[in-house]
């Protein structure tokens, strides 16, 4: 297990380096000079050149890359070209919106997926089971920006129970949570649809498994057999999907934050790209990639702990 963890950690570091090269390369290749964008079209070539030097953008690319990497590792993310605010603070504030949004979305997704997948499989072949399967399919098929807009129309415009957009400070936790509810639902419905499909397949496999039959042969009722032998086995594929879907949720949050105009990571990313605020954009993309890679590592490690067939190998 330790050897395996060390091995996977090594892969994680390599992936992070690879991701950083890609992120840096892609955003550096964006057309338009940041200095020109900041100063506007009326700026003189001299002042543009002056700002370029000031921003360090005249240095060779490899040096810019290592400066950036150095900043990331030491935590000195620097200051935004555009807003003149420290990047670290900006990302931290945005995270306080996106983090809770994603977690809430995952919880809602699971609340939807577990009954849908479980009963969809248990009632397979009956009308109720087919309806449950169809509900999951619909949730999966409706894009978040459509679902989100519909939610706004119903709950904000028609019934005025939840805010359509914006986000107060966390100093008002009640209204902050309220503003996150609709976006989290529109995120969770899609995730719930996806996870319920996997769960349904996993439970169907389980119901046909020989070991469940053995458990029943011992005299366990269906409920007991499912609890004692089913849960752990059905969880194995779910952990994989759940981990990958959590990554998907972070990406989905970028879209949802724009629909609901939430000041989260996604909004910050889009603004910084539009403003050619390269440093901020790079840091955010790097942060999101890093999170996804770490999540994958955690999935791999937890899989090992859950499945004894993998535990002994390295």
């Amino acid at each position: 297990m330790v050897r395996f963890a060390a091995h996977r950690l090594g892969i994680l570091v390599l992936s992070l380096v690879g991701a950083s090269v890609l992120v840096f390369g892609a955003l550096t290749l964006l057309p338009g000079s940041p200095a020109q964008v900041i100063l506007g079209t009326q700026a003189t070539p001299q002042s543009v050149h002056h700002l370029t030097v000031q921003l360090g953008l005249d240095k060779p690319l490899w040096q810019q890359y290592f400066d950036w990497l150095h900043g990331m590792v030491t935590g000195a993310l620097g200051t935004s070209y555009v807003s003149q605010l420290p990047i670290g603070t900006q990302i931290w504030q945005a995270l306080q919106v996106t983090g809770p949004l994603v977690l809430l979305g995952l919880v809602i997704g699971l609340v939807i997926a577990i009954p849908l997948g479980l009963f969809g499989a248990l009632l397979q072949g009956r009308a109720t089971g087919a309806v449950l399967g169809a509900i999951g399919q619909v949730g999966l098929a409706v894009p978040t920006f459509v679902g989100g807009t519909l939610l706004i129309i119903v709950f904000a415009v028609e019934f005025h129970v939840l805010p359509a957009s914006g986000f107060p400070e966390w100093s008002h936790p009640g209204s902050a949570l309220k503003s996150l509810l609709l976006p989290a639902i529109s995120l969770g419905v899609v995730e719930g649809g996806i996870i319920s499909r996997y769960l349904r397949t996993s439970v169907l496999d389980l119901l046909q498994s020989d070991y469940l039959r053995t458990a029943r042969m011992k005299g366990l009722s269906m409920g007991q057999a499912l609890r004692r032998h089913g849960l752990r086995n059905a969880m194995l594929p779910l952990v994989t999907v759940g981990g990958l879907e959590l990554a998907g949720l972070i990406v989905g949050a970028i879209v949802v934050e724009n629909v609901f105009t939430l000041p989260g990571i996604g909004t910050l990313l889009l603004t910084s790209v539009n403003n050619r605020d390269l440093l901020v954009a790079q840091d955010i993309v790097m942060f999101v990639s890093g999170t996804v890679l770490v999540l994958n590592l955690l999935v791999d490690l937890s899989y090992r702990l859950l499945d004894p067939r993998l535990a002994g190998r390295s």
Binding site: Q124, G125, L207, Q208, S209, D210, Y211, R213, T214, A215, R216, M217, K218, G219, L220, S221, Q224, R228, H229, R232, N233, L236, L306, D307, P308, R309, G312
Partner: protein, 331 residues
Amino acid sequence: MAALSVRDLSVRAQGLELVRDVSFEVHSGERVALIGESGSGKSLTAMAIVGLLGRGLSASGEARLGDEDLLGVSERRRCQLRGDRIALIFQDPMTALDPTMRIGRQVGEALRQHRGLSRRQAAEAAVKLLARVEIPDPARYAHSYPHQLSGGLRQRVMMAIAISCDPDVILADEPTTALDVTVQRRVLELLDRLVREEGSALLLITHDLAVVSEMCDRVVTMYGGRVVESGSVESMLTAPQHPYTDALLAASSAVSIDGASGEPLPAIAGSVPAAGQFPPGCPYRDRCPRASQQCTTMPPLEAVGDRTVACWHPVGREEPAAGITTEGTLK
């Protein structure tokens, strides 16, 4: 009194009758073999008896365990009897154990369920049971997971589970088919010993007629979801009366000759039809060399002494006139 008494057991799926009117008895301490090709309904019969038929299958008839009808009692009661007084050993030990649970816990589970043993008591009992099924170093294997055991060891574990509550009846569904030939014999010897020690009734589903002749007292032949013949091992294996039992024996005994005679191996002509594709009347008539026009109506299961046979033209008996039964009573 019979430990297990099956009466008119039928299994249906979507209008198809996969098992029809199967009746037989197994007495305490008796070993009965259920033989027949794959698709003849042997496993379905066993699963119907313990009430573990798959989705979409339903059973009717009677399966008496002592004085209780397993098909008539509530599911709650069936759960109490299953694993306690009747146990089933499955065909494929590679998939029959929970891959995420330690062997010891799986073996002790029935004892916890039926005898209310504590976790520790069950763990100790499991080690003893593993020793009884001749697993070397039982304490160590109790802490192993199924994937760390060979097929033969896993089938021993299944046997330990089956005998854990001293059942009155053990059903074994081709317990060695999935195993290496080299370990088959030892696993069967173990089963033989366990059944003797427990004094349980054994219903052994098998293809292997050599095993039948060594281990069993009586034989029931199934074909097309019906019982076509039954009787004592000696009379069935020396003088089969149903042409299907006769053909099974011929195909089986040829294995030891292994073609040294230069003659092709005798095989039963044709193959077992898919469920629901059996001809009306005698299900075997399409493949039977003795079939006649009369076979389009189903022959009754006719008892002659300790033998029953369902055939209009039984092997080794003078051709009786149609419709006239020889001595004995009609069932």
